[in-house]
């Protein structure tokens, strides 16, 4: 029985790996394939010649594409940083109010917030542009990040407040009897107990910000603000489609989010094993 379980698990693992990583392996193969062999009519999976020219171009300090790509990576990271620093606290306190407090209009506010999840970027982008143009806020990573935050808030608040709701009331009542105020209860009881969900929200915001495309396309055009996704899409221009370069850039673009996930996974796993209530 146990043996069977193991076999099933290994099968699952293999399937999981093939589906998840397979396309990336293929992308890597493409990134080392010379451009003139990309569509060669052969059934061979690997190119005859391996070229590192695409990575070379991205890493070389004199290549315009390379410097543009890395400055764009930095821009994306900055946007991620600002988004997290603003988005997570706002979401957490709003979730605390919505999840743990009773007040008038609570359901209305909650519903009005949640319903914005269905609003596509296209529906707000033109008025946003006009607003930003009037306020001289274009080409500014800070304001760009605030727009990202506005699109993540409903989901983040909903996730966190649901999690808050699962924390037994006795805990904060106990804290209050010990003389903790609202603020102390929030910081010393609620936050430490709910960091698995906070980390999940951090990850969600990180990854979504990382691949932003449509919003910055309209709101940011300077080299100092353009995120990575836009620069990569510019490798595919009207007259030249540099598939190898796109694949190479895509591979490199995976590193920061992968590193972040690896970094945070410890906390995610720890939270799971300890169980969320045994503070």
């Amino acid at each position: 029985m146990k043996y069977m379980k193991k076999i099933v698990y290994v099968c699952e693992l293999l399937l999981f790996l093939v589906v998840t990583i397979g396309p990336f392996v293929w992308a890597f193969v493409l990134s080392v394939t010379p451009d003139n062999a990309v569509f060669a009519p052969t059934v061979k999976l690997l190119p005859e010649h391996v070229t590192w020219a695409h990575y070379g171009e991205l890493f070389s300090p004199d290549s315009r594409r390379g410097t543009a790509f890395f400055s764009a990576m930095l821009n994306s990271l900055r946007a991620v940083g600002i988004t997290l620093c603003i988005g997570v606290p706002i979401a957490a306190i709003a979730a605390y109010a919505l999840g743990r407090m009773e007040f008038k209009g609570r359901n209305l506010i909650k519903n009005l917030l949640l319903i914005t999840m269905v609003i596509p970027v296209m529906a707000t982008i033109i008025p946003l542009y006009r607003m930003f143009a009037a306020g001289e806020m274009l080409d500014n990573i800070f304001w760009l990040s605030i727009v990202y935050v506005s699109s993540y808030l409903p989901m983040a608040v909903w996730l966190i407040s649901n999690y808050f709701a699962t924390i037994p009331r006795e805990l904060d009542e106990a804290a209050r009897i010990d003389g903790c105020g609202e603020a102390k209860t929030f910081f010393y009881v609620m936050l430490p107990l709910s960091y698995p969900i906070l980390i999940s929200v951090v990850l969600i915001m990180f990854l979504n910000t990382w691949s932003q495309f449509q919003i910055p396309l309209i709101l940011a055009s300077s080299m100092e603000t353009k995120p990575m996704a836009i620069i990569v899409s510019e490798f595919m221009t009207k007259d030249s489609v540099q598939y190898g370069l796109i694949a190479a850039a895509g591979m490199l673009a995976l590193i920061p989010p992968a590193a972040a996930t690896l970094f945070f996974r410890k906390y995610l796993v720890a939270g799971m094993m300890k169980g969320s209530v045994k503070g």
């Binding site: 999981f16 790996l17 589906v19 998840t20 396309p23 992308a27 493409l30 009519p41 052969t42 059934v43 999976l45 306190i93 709003a94 007040f103 609570r106 917030l113 949640l114 914005t116 999840m117 609003i119 596509p120 970027v121 296209m122 529906a123 033109i126 008025p127 946003l128 605030i146 935050v149 506005s150 989901m155 608040v157 996730l159 649901n162 999690y163 699962t166 037994p168 698995p196 969900i197 999940s200 990850l203 969600i204 691949s211 996704a229 990569v232 899409s233 595919m236 694949a247 850039a249 895509g250 673009a253 995976l254 992968a258 996930t261 690896l262 995610l268 796993v269 094993m273 169980g275 209530v277």
Partner: protein, 300 residues
Amino acid sequence: MSAQQTAESTNTMKKKILPYLLLTPMILIMGVLVYYPILATFSYSLKKWKLTAPADIHFIGLKNYIDILQSESFWYSMENTLFILVMVVVFTTICGCMVAMFLNIDVRGSGILMALSILPWALPPYVNGVLWKFVFFSGYGFLNKLLLGMGLISHPIEFLSARWTLLLVVSIVVIWRSTPFMALVCLAGRRSIPSQIYEAARGDGATRTATFRYITAPLMLPFVGVGLTSTSVTAINVFDEIVSLSGYSDLGKNILMESYLTTFEFLNFGKGAAMTYLVMFCALILGVLYLRSLNKEVEY
């Protein structure tokens, strides 16, 4: 005694105001960056506003909407949108829950597996499309190479040349990208369930199916719900993937693409705005359905 009373009343006053204070930053951001623009877009959708006719911008009521609803191409796009929506929602939910369950098994290296599972989501949708284009490329793409190599086919299959296979490919690509999010949300939900409940259930002699039916499923529902809503919105708003797989072709276009083309290619801002409103309306129906079924309080 009176001092105590005032202290109490300030305390209750504080208690009354506090939640609103906590919500202020959120309300500000949402009001200015979401609610105001969405109303502005609605006002555009009631106008004739074509950039190539700058002198002729005026109020026309619902004419944009009527024109759109009467056009054949809108309904064609609608069919495509619905097809992608159903495929993506169903399979993302299934795959997401499966991956979450898989990742929930605690073995050595499960952290690394989690990091791996997140990767597809980290890929910008545009790159994602390009990546899969190579897999399903109608000439010698990966899949064709594989099938040819195994001798299953003698000529490359044209995956991207027919409407339904193209839409299927689009759906697969979107499912692949949105599964990690679903898995993460499900996992978070699974972890929000206090382990005592399971222990207690086990103590009461509950079977596995009963535990799932009466504990896991209902407690995870709000989380799956948020995943569902978000996945549905993603599915309705697929754009980059279709463009990188089949260009701006009529074949695989969805409503969002039609709205994009109308706005930025044909420079008809009024009609484009009306179309985004219709897209949003579809998403709204789904959103309300999910919300109504999920907005019950979770109490323990």
